[in-house]
Structures are given as C-alpha cells and as structure tokens.
C-alpha cells in the first residue's frame, strides 16, 4: 500500500507548486501595492440581459422569420411531411410567444419579491441581527460554498472589485452565523492569479469585518488557494475563526486529470498497484488537493448552472439558488441556510 502524501507531492511538483504549504502572510505584510490584471472572461451563458421590450420585439421578429423563412434545416422529403413539420413548429413558436410573456411577468415578480426580501431582512452590518436569524435554525452547514459570477467591469458591483466586495460580505455573514469554512468558486479564478489580489482581498475583508464587529475585535481568518498551495493569515496567529478557500475551474476536472497523470506515472514505476486505486484513495487525495466537500452550495447566478464546479465534491451538497437573482445579497444567503436546516440527508436510505 502506498502512502498517500507521495501522490499529493507528485501532483504538486508536476504543477510547479511548492510541496510545503507556503505561508505568505509575512511577505504580504511588507508588500502592499496594486497592479492591473488583464480580465478573464466568465463562462458563457452566465450572463443575461433581459429587457421585456427587447425580448418581445425579437420574438416577433424571430417568429416571423422562422415561420416564413427556412432557417431550420429539415430532413424530410415529402411535401406533406414538410407541411406537418411547419404546422407543428408554428404551434411550438406560438407557445414560445406565450411563455416569453409569462416569463417576463415572472421575472418582474421575482425581482420585486427579492427587493422586498432584501428590505425586510437587511443585516444592517450588525452580527447580532444575523445571529438572531441563525439561532432559529436547527442546523447550519460546517462548510459553505458559494458560486460567484464575475460580472462585467461596467456593471454595478462588477469586475474584480465587485467580486472582492461580495467575498467580504459573505465572510462577514458566515462568521456571524459561525460557519467555519467558506469556499468561494469563481469560474475564471481571477483572484487567485496573483499575490496582489490576495493581499487586496485580505485588506478589504479586514476593513469590512471592522465595520461589522468593531475595529478592536476583528475576527481572524485565513485565505487559502488550494491550486497554488498558498495560505495567508489575517494576522500572525494561526488560530482562525474562518478559513476561506478560493477555487476555480482548475480545481475541478483538470485536477482529476492531474491526479490521473500522477497515478499513471506511479503505476509505470510500479509504485502504485492498479487495485490500490479506490474511491477512498482518490477521495483522500482530492480532499487534500482541493478541500472538503461543502455541505451547502449557494449559487448567486440567475439560473442553475454548475459551471464546471469540482464534480467530485458536490456528491451530497445541498444546492440552493434564487432564480433571476444576479447579486450577492443577504436575503438569498439566509434563505439558503433555512433550506439547508430543513433538509435531511440519508445516504442510500
């Protein structure tokens, strides 16, 4: 039987990462400057621009176009079949028209409802308000994961600064509801690209926590980037109230590929037997390389799309998302916790 740290080390060496967990807190304390980063695009289809008039205009346009033009290839031969096909397609398009109107009404209703919720459950930057909300719940997740979308720089609360702002808020809410670990998933991994953005993030989280908890009693935290095997602490002590992990697409399928590569290298040199590759071994390696399985995943995207989230880790994760919601707001956060407290996991039973 092979000792598992060997595999992990090999994976990290293959990826040009330090074998030892590197603590850059001290370095970060010295450096404090900003460099512009080229923006990385989010995955397609995470962004929606819905405007009722635009949609209706376009639908009418498309409806006319496709009912009279041949924009859809049809592989039928006889004229009768062709007529039946277009007749059916026409019915479908008419249905779409009705659905489009319905969806827009629903969209507006949801937006208003969310605004209402945001107003009624505003945390007011006070941990005690959050505490009161959380105390009512029968259980809270130990490990919380949030899926954030990188918005365009021009959007409200968009770009890198918006992302940092969102993480700051999430951290404050998580600490107030005594969650021990927060895993932030962002498709492009923009924040884990450089030390500087990490340092920025630390600075802003500290500032924001100061607003919540008062400047004399700022809770301690650490930010970890599993992909680079880096960690940064909020101050010198290593006892933290919350650990924040920043993960991205690379921690999902590509990490599984790396693991496979390393295993096959070890198998070639006869250091690993084929029968030793088990679910438990892979699980152990991935927990070390990426992090724990989250109990709850909150997606702050308008539609449910997992965007290449690490597949191994969402086995039993409760998934929550609010349709048509694009922002990170407290109402969504607390509703996700409420849903989690009502769910019951019984594996296989």
């Amino acid at each position: 039987m092979i000792k598992s740290p060997k595999i992990i080390e090999d994976v990290r060496i293959n990826n040009d990462i330090d074998v030892e967990l590197k603590n850059i807190t001290k370095e970060a304390n010295i450096i404090d400057q900003k460099i512009d980063e080229p923006p990385i695009k989010g995955p397609p289809s995470t962004n929606r621009n819905i405007n009722i008039f635009y949609i209706i205009m376009e639908l009418i346009h498309n409806f006319l176009k496709s009912s009279f033009g041949n924009d859809k290839p049809v592989e039928t031969t006889s004229i009768l079949q062709l007529i039946i096909y277009y007749f059916n397609h026409l019915i479908l398009l008419q249905l779409f028209f009705v659905i489009a109107i319905y969806k827009n009404i629903q969209f507006i209703y949801r937006k208003i409802y969310l605004k209402y919720l945001t107003l009624t459950s505003y945390p007011n930057k006070s941990p005690s308000v959050i505490r009161q909300d959380v105390v009512k719940l029968s259980k809270i997740p130990k490990v919380l994961s949030c899926l954030l979308d990188l918005k365009d720089d021009d959007d409200e609360n968009g770009g890198k600064d918006g992302l940092i702002n969102d993480i700051c808020e999430l951290t404050a809410w998580s600490i107030s509801s005594s969650i021990e670990r927060l895993i932030i998933y962002e498709y492009s991994g923009l924040l884990s690209q450089s030390y500087d953005s990490l340092i920025d993030l630390r600075k802003y989280i500290k500032k924001n926590l100061g607003l919540y908890f008062g400047t004399d009693a700022i809770p301690t935290f650490s930010i970890k980037i599993p992909q680079k095997n880096l960690i940064i602490y909020s101050n010198e002590s290593k006892e933290v109230d919350i650990q924040i992990d920043l993960i991205s697409r690379i921690d999902g399928k590509p990490t599984l590929v790396e693991l496979t590569k390393t295993m096959s290298e070890l198998a070639l040199t006869k250091e690993l037997a084929l029968k030793d590759i088990t679910i438990d071994l892979i699980d152990e390696e991935l927990m070390e390389l990426v992090g724990p399985e989250p109990d709850l995943l909150i997606s702050f995207a308008p539609s449910l799309n997992l965007e290449d989230y690490p597949p191994w880790h969402i086995r039993l994760t409760e998934i929550y998302w609010e349709p048509d919601n694009k922002d990170v707001n407290y109402a969504v956060f607390i509703r996700a916790l409420q849903q989690f407290s009502n769910c019951k996991i019984n594996i296989g039973k």
């Binding site: 498309n62 059916n88 249905l95 779409f96 449910l304 086995r315 929550y320």
Partner: protein, 291 residues
C-alpha cells in the same frame, strides 16, 4: 377527479395519442439529446399513501414507462435513469431483495413481451458496477441487453447499481491501465470522459431530480457540472410525476435553447466565421453584453 375520468373507455388510447401529438410538436424545437433522471420518492409516496413500499416501487416503474414513452416521442435519443445506487445496498436486506426481485421480474417481462423496446426501438444498457449484483439478476439483465442490442432509435441506460464516484474511479483506473500498456497516450479530460459509462452517448443536457431534494446524490456528477447541462429540481414525488410535468420541462428547455441560441448565433453569423469554439463563445459573451 382524474380517477373518475380514467374509467372511460378509450381513455388510454386518447392519452397515448395526445402524447404522440405533443411529442411531435416538441420534437420540432430543440430537444435534449440525453436526459438523466433521478427517480426519487417512491418510498415516501408509499408511506404517505399508506401502501406497501413494494407497491410504491411498482408505481414508480409505471411512471417511468409513462415518461419514457413521452421522451422518445419527443425525439430524445438517450435517457439514463438512476434505478439503484450502490449506497442502496445499505437498506434493509428485505427491501434490497425486493428491489432485486422487482428488477428481475420487470426485465423478464421486457425479455418476453418487448415492453417499450420493440415499439420504440429502444436499446437497453445496464451501467454501473455489475460485479455487485447477484448472479441470477445479472443473467436476466444480460439477456435484456442481448435482445435489444440491435435497436437503434433510442437508448435507455439503467444505472444498476451505480454511483458517480465509482464511475469516475473506474474511468481513472481504465486510463491508468491504458497508459501502462501505451505510455505515450496524453491524459486529458476527454480521455477520462471517454472511459465513463456514458462514453457512447451524447453529453447530458437535462438532469431531472424529483421529490424536492436539491442534491445530485452521486448521480452523473462529472456530466452534470458541465455548463451545458440544465438541472431541474421538481417537488413532486416520482410516482406523482406526470407526463404533463415532463412536457413543461421539455418546452421550457426548448424555449431557453431557442431564445439564447438565437441571441448568440446572430452574432456568430454576423461577426465571426471562426471555427474555434472557445473564441466565438467568448466573443458571443462580450457581444451579447454590448447590447
């Protein structure tokens, strides 16, 4: 109310005829080529309706046949159903035995009478860790695969017994074994993907879970995280899941595809003739934003 209607003569025919018509209509739009279904809630249904658990599983099977009929009418190529998880072996031995017997009897029925397979040309494939099954069940399942192997119109994957982690592990194992024979192979995501149980099927585009549980429960994890896969959670228990609910999901799927595809393709056609998919999709992204 609906019970009362169903006693009328010709109700069944009417139902399947309307399914055919609706299926035809749906099939003119975009249809997911591969649908995954987690059929959850048979036991809760049995408990809440005060019937025996095995009756609940029986009803679940009927629902499945009902839904599959609609899916194949609408032009879905592959359906994967989560029939039995490896974790389900943890249930009482009594119930496991009963589920095995149910599977055996149903597959026997398929072997003898054809079920949907003849009518729709369905090829049945059993996927999962077959080593864990008792021999007598395995024989029946193999026979079904053998009988239906020449059907080409549609595929039904039955996950029995299956977990996604097991699938991924098996795939990794196969890849490692392959590289031991031929060390020059480049390991990448596609290679792992082509060693999954669903290797011959198109990518999963729609994943449905019933019974109001918002978890994937170890089903098609690798396939479900792909950005092209739409996940739908439904509050009904599986025996309550009616073809009407499926119709709504399919039309919704077609609508979203139609709407967003049109929005994107417009820009691809007008501005780019590039064949590089990643570049176009990135550009689409910025272009759609620009409006």
């Amino acid at each position: 109310m609906s019970d009362w209607i169903s006693t009328f003569p010709g109700y069944k025919n009417l139902l399947s005829a309307s399914k055919k018509i609706i299926g035809k209509i749906i099939s003119t739009g975009s249809v997911p080529s591969h649908v995954g279904i987690i059929m959850d809630g048979n036991r809760r249904y049995a408990k809440s309706h005060k019937i025996e658990i095995k009756e609940g599983h029986n009803l679940g099977f009927e629902t499945m046949a009902n839904i599959l009929e609609l899916l194949y009418e609408s032009g879905v190529k592959v359906t994967t159903v989560y029939a039995f998880s490896i974790e389900n072996f943890k249930r009482s031995s009594f119930e496991v035995q009963w589920l095995m017997d149910l599977a055996k009897s149903k597959f026997n029925q398929i072997n003898q009478h054809g079920f949907l397979c003849e009518e729709y040309g369905v090829k049945i494939k059993i996927i999962g860790n077959l080593k864990m099954l008792p021999d007598d069940v395995l024989v029946v399942l193999k026979e079904t695969e053998e009988i239906t192997k020449n059907n080409t119109r549609a595929v039904l994957n039955v996950c029995f017994p299956y977990t996604s982690r097991d699938e991924i592990t098996t795939s990794i194992k196969n890849v490692v074994e392959e590289t031991m024979r031929n060390p020059t192979i480049e390991i990448n995501e596609n290679l792992i993907e082509s060693n999954l149980y669903t290797k011959d099927n198109p990518p999963v585009e729609l994943l449905i879970r019933t019974s109001g549980t918002y978890r994937l429960s170890d089903f098609m994890l690798w396939q479900a995280v792909s950005p092209n896969c739409k996940i739908v959670f439904i509050n009904q228990l599986w025996p309550n899941f009616k073809p009407w609910d499926m119709i709504k999901i399919l039309i919704n799927f077609a609508f979203e595809k139609y709407w967003y595809a049109n929005e994107n393709s417009k820009f691809v056609n007008t501005y780019y003739d590039s064949e590089d998919e990643t570049i176009t999709s990135d550009n689409e992204y910025t272009m759609t934003k620009a409006i």
